[in-house]
C-alpha cells in the first residue's frame, strides 16, 4: 500500500506541476502565453533526454537529433497542400503531394524519432563514458548537416514556415503529460529497473544477468521516440523553424536544464526544465522592464545570459546533484523508533 502510494506521488507531483503551468498559461495574455508554452515543450524535451541519460548514466549530446527529425517530419508533412507546392519545390513528390493532420504528424514524429534512435543506437550503445558523448555528438552533427543540405526531404538551409501552429496550452500540456507518463512507466518497468541497476554498477548488473547494451538500446529508442514527439510539439508551436534552432544551443540548454534539476530523477528533469525556462523568460521580460512586487526592474540588455549562466554554474557548484538532489518526490517518512 505504502509503495503504491509512493509511486503515485512520484507520478502525480510532476504531472500536477505541468497541469498547473498549463492552466496558468490559459490566463496569460497572448504575448506572455508563448513563455508558458516554451516551458512545457522544454519539459517534454528534457524528460525525453532524461529517459536515456538519467536512467543509463551515459552522457549523450545526440538527443536533439531526434527532436530535429521529429520537428522537420511533423513540420514538412503538415504544411497545407496548396502552399506546399509553392514553398517546398525541391522535395520528393511523395512528400510534396501529401499532407497529414495534427495528431498523425505527432505520431509520425515519434515513430521516426524512435526508429532513427534505434538504428543509431544499434552500433553506438556499446560505447560508454566520453567516447559515447563524442559519438552521440557526431550523430547530432551528421543529422544537422543532412537536414541542412538535403533539400529533397525538407527546406534545407531556409526556414520551414507555414506550419499550422496547433500547439496551444492544451496540446502542450497533454504532450508534456504523455512524455512524463511514458517516462514514469518505463522507469518502473522491469526494463527500466535493469537499466538503472546498470547505471549504479555496470559490472555488478551484468553479473546478475542484465544485458546492459540491450537495455541501453531500449532506453535510447524510447528516448528518441519521445524526443521526436517533443520536436513535433515544438514545430507546431513555433509555426516556422530552421535547422539551427534544433542544434547546439538547444542541446546545451536542455542538458543544462537536466543537470540543474537533477540528472537521476524524473522530478529533477521536470523541475530543471521549468526552473531554467521560467528564469529565462522572466529575465528576457526584465530586459524590457517589468514590475514584480511593485518594484520597477529594468535590466540592461545582454545581462539575461550573464545572470542565467552564472546561476546555472552556481547551482552546479553549490549543489552538484541538482536542485532536487536527483531524487523523486517522497511522502514524509514516518520516523522509526530505534
Amino acid at each position: 500500500m505504502r509503495r503504491w502510494l509512493d509511486s503515485l506521488v512520484q507520478l502525480a507531483a510532476p504531472a500536477l506541476l505541468v497541469v498547473a503551468v498549463g492552466l496558468v498559461s490559459t490566463t496569460a495574455s497572448p504575448a506572455n502565453q508563448v513563455y508558458f508554452l516554451n516551458a512545457l515543450i522544454a519539459v517534454a524535451i528534457v524528460v525525453s533526454i532524461y529517459v536515456f541519460v538519467g536512467n543509463s548514466g551515459v552522457i549523450s549530446f545526440g538527443q536533439i537529433s531526434f527532436v530535429a527529425v521529429g520537428a522537420f517530419a511533423a513540420g514538412v508533412m503538415t504544411v497545407p497542400l496548396d502552399s506546399k507546392r509553392g514553398v517546398l519545390t525541391t522535395i520528393f513528390p511523395l512528400l510534396r503531394d501529401h499532407t497529414i493532420g495534427n495528431v498523425p504528424s505527432l505520431l509520425l514524429a515519434a515513430g521516426l524519432g524512435g526508429l532513427f534512435a534505434f538504428l543509431v543506437g544499434l552500433p553506438l550503445m556499446r560505447l560508454s563514458g566520453l567516447a559515447a558523448g563524442i559519438a552521440t555528438f557526431a550523430v547530432l552533427e551528421i543529422t544537422h548537416n543532412i537536414l541542412r543540405e538535403w533539400t529533397k526531404i525538407g527546406p534545407g538551409a531556409t526556414t520551414l514556415s507555414l506550419v499550422p501552429d496547433s500547439t496551444g496550452p492544451l496540446q502542450a500540456t497533454l504532450g508534456a503529460l504523455v512524455v512524463i507518463a511514458v517516462a514514469f512507466a518505463y522507469q518502473h518497468s522491469r526494463l527500466g529497473r535493469q537499466l538503472r541497476a546498470s547505471r549504479e554498477d555496470a559490472a555488478a548488473a551484468a553479473g546478475v544477468g542484465v544485458r546492459v547494451h540491450l537495455q541501453r538500446l531500449w532506453a535510447f529508442t524510447l528516448s528518441g521516440a519521445l524526443g521526436g514527439l517533443a520536436g513535433g510539439l515544438l514545430v507546431h508551436q513555433l509555426g516556422s523553424i530552421t535547422t539551427e534552432q534544433v542544434y547546439l544551443e538547444l542541446t546545451f540548454l536542455t542538458l543544462a536544464m537536466l543537470v540543474v534539476g537533477g540528472l537521476t530523477s524524473l522530478w529533477g528533469a521536470v523541475v530543471g526544465a521549468l526552473a531554467v525556462s521560467g528564469l529565462d523568460s522572466f529575465l528576457s521580460k526584465a530586459e524590457n522592464g517589468v514590475h514584480p512586487f511593485g518594484h520597477k526592474l529594468d535590466l540592461p540588455s545582454g545581462t539575461r545570459l550573464v545572470i542565467l549562466a552564472s546561476l546555472m554554474a552556481l547551482v552546479l557548484i553549490v549543489r552538484p546533484s541538482g536542485l532536487t538532489g536527483g531524487r523523486e518526490v517522497r511522502l514524509p517518512q514516518r520516523r522509526r523508533r530505534a
Binding site: V53, I59, P123, I134, A138, I142, A203, G302, T303, V306
Partner: protein
C-alpha cells in the same frame, strides 16, 4: 587527380592548423589529466585572449601580446579557483555541464563588452603582416604557418622537458596516472593542479595570438567551433594520455586542413557528415583512442 592538388601550400596550411589544434589539445589534455575534467570553456580563454589583442591593438606589439598572456593566464587560474576546485571529485557529466555554463557566461560577458561601441565584433590587426607569404624552394608558404609550426614544436618540446625533468613535472605525471596514490605519497594536489591550469592558460594565450593572425575579426564565438573540433580530436586520439590527446588534436586539424584544400567548395556540403561518420567508426573500433596501444582498457573488476 586529387594528388595533383596536394601542393606544398595545402600541406603547409594543414600542418599549421594541425599545430594550433595540437596546442589546444595539450591545454585540454593537461587539465583533464589531473582533474578528470573536460574543459569546454577552453575556447573562451582563447576568445578572451583574442579580445585583449583587439582592444590593445594600438599598443606596442610586445606589450599587447604580454597583456594577452596576462589576461588569459589570470582567467585560467581564476576559473580553477572559483569553478574547478569546488567541483573536484564530481561526476564527469556535472563537471562538463558546469564548464558549458562557464563558456556561456564568458560569451555573454564578451557580448556585452563588445557591444559597448554599438557594433558586433572587434578587429585585431597587429600581427596581420604574418599572413604574407614567403617563398621556400619555389613554393609560397604563409609566415604564420611557419610561426605556428615552430611555436608548437618548441612548446611541446619545452613541455616534455618540463614534465620529464623537473620535480613539479614528475608530480604532475604522478597525479595524472593516479591522483589519490600521488597525494598519499606527498604530492600537493593544489600545486599540481594550479601548475597544469597555468600551463594550459599559457597555451591558450599562444593559440589566441596565432589564431588572430588568420582570423583578425574577433566575436564572442571566436574559437568555439575550433574547441569542439579539438575536443572530438582529443577523445578520438585518446584522452587518457597527453601525447595521444595531442596527436588526436593535430590529426583532426591536419586532416580538415587537407580536405578543405583538396575539395572544391561546392562539393564540401556533406563533408561534416563524412568526417563525423569517420569519428563514429574510429570510436567504435578503438573506444580507448586511435593512438592508444594495447587495445581497449581492461574491463572493470569488482
Amino acid at each position: 587527380m586529387l594528388l595533383a592538388a596536394l601542393d606544398v601550400q595545402t600541406i603547409s596550411d594543414a600542418l599549421g592548423l594541425g599545430a594550433i589544434y595540437a596546442l589546444m589539445a595539450v591545454g585540454i589534455g593537461l587539465v583533464f589529466g589531473v582533474l578528470r575534467l573536460v574543459n569546454f570553456a577552453y575556447g573562451q580563454l582563447v576568445m578572451a585572449g583574442a579580445y585583449t589583442l583587439a582592444f590593445t591593438a594600438a599598443w606596442p606589439l610586445a606589450l599587447s601580446v604580454t597583456a594577452c598572456f596576462a589576461v588569459v593566464v589570470a582567467l585560467s587560474l581564476l576559473m580553477d579557483t572559483v569553478v574547478f576546485r569546488p567541483l573536484r571529485g564530481q561526476s564527469p557529466a556535472v563537471m562538463l555541464v558546469t564548464t558549458f555554463a562557464i563558456a556561456f557566461l564568458l560569451q555573454a560577458i564578451a557580448l556585452i563588452v563588445d557591444l559597448r561601441d554599438g557594433t558586433l565584433g572587434e578587429v585585431a590587426p597587429s600581427l596581420s603582416y604574418l599572413n604574407e607569404p614567403v617563398t621556400i624552394a619555389g613554393a609560397e608558404v604563409r609566415k604564420i604557418t611557419l610561426v605556428a609550426i615552430v611555436v608548437a614544436a618548441g612548446a611541446l618540446l619545452l613541455l616534455a622537458l618540463l614534465l620529464a625533468r623537473t620535480t613539479i613535472g614528475l608530480h604532475t605525471r604522478a597525479a595524472a596516472s593516479d591522483f589519490r596514490t600521488a597525494r598519499l605519497l606527498g604530492v600537493r594536489a593544489n600545486r599540481v593542479i594550479a601548475f597544469s591550469v597555468f600551463l594550459s592558460g599559457l597555451l591558450a594565450a599562444a593559440v589566441a595570438v596565432m589564431m588572430t593572425v588568420q582570423l583578425p575579426f574577433v566575436g564572442p564565438d571566436f574559437a568555439l567551433r575550433d574547441t569542439i573540433v579539438v575536443l572530438v580530436g582529443v577523445v578520438v586520439g585518446g584522452i587518457d594520455r597527453l601525447w595521444t590527446a595531442t596527436l588526436g588534436g593535430f590529426a583532426i586539424g591536419f586532416v580538415s586542413g587537407l580536405i578543405n584544400g583538396l575539395l572544391p567548395t561546392d562539393k564540401t556540403v556533406y563533408l561534416p557528415s563524412a568526417v563525423f561518420a569517420l569519428v563514429i567508426l574510429v570510436l567504435l573500433l578503438r573506444p580507448a583512442g586511435l593512438f592508444t596501444w594495447g587495445g581497449r582498457a581492461a574491463p572493470e573488476r569488482v
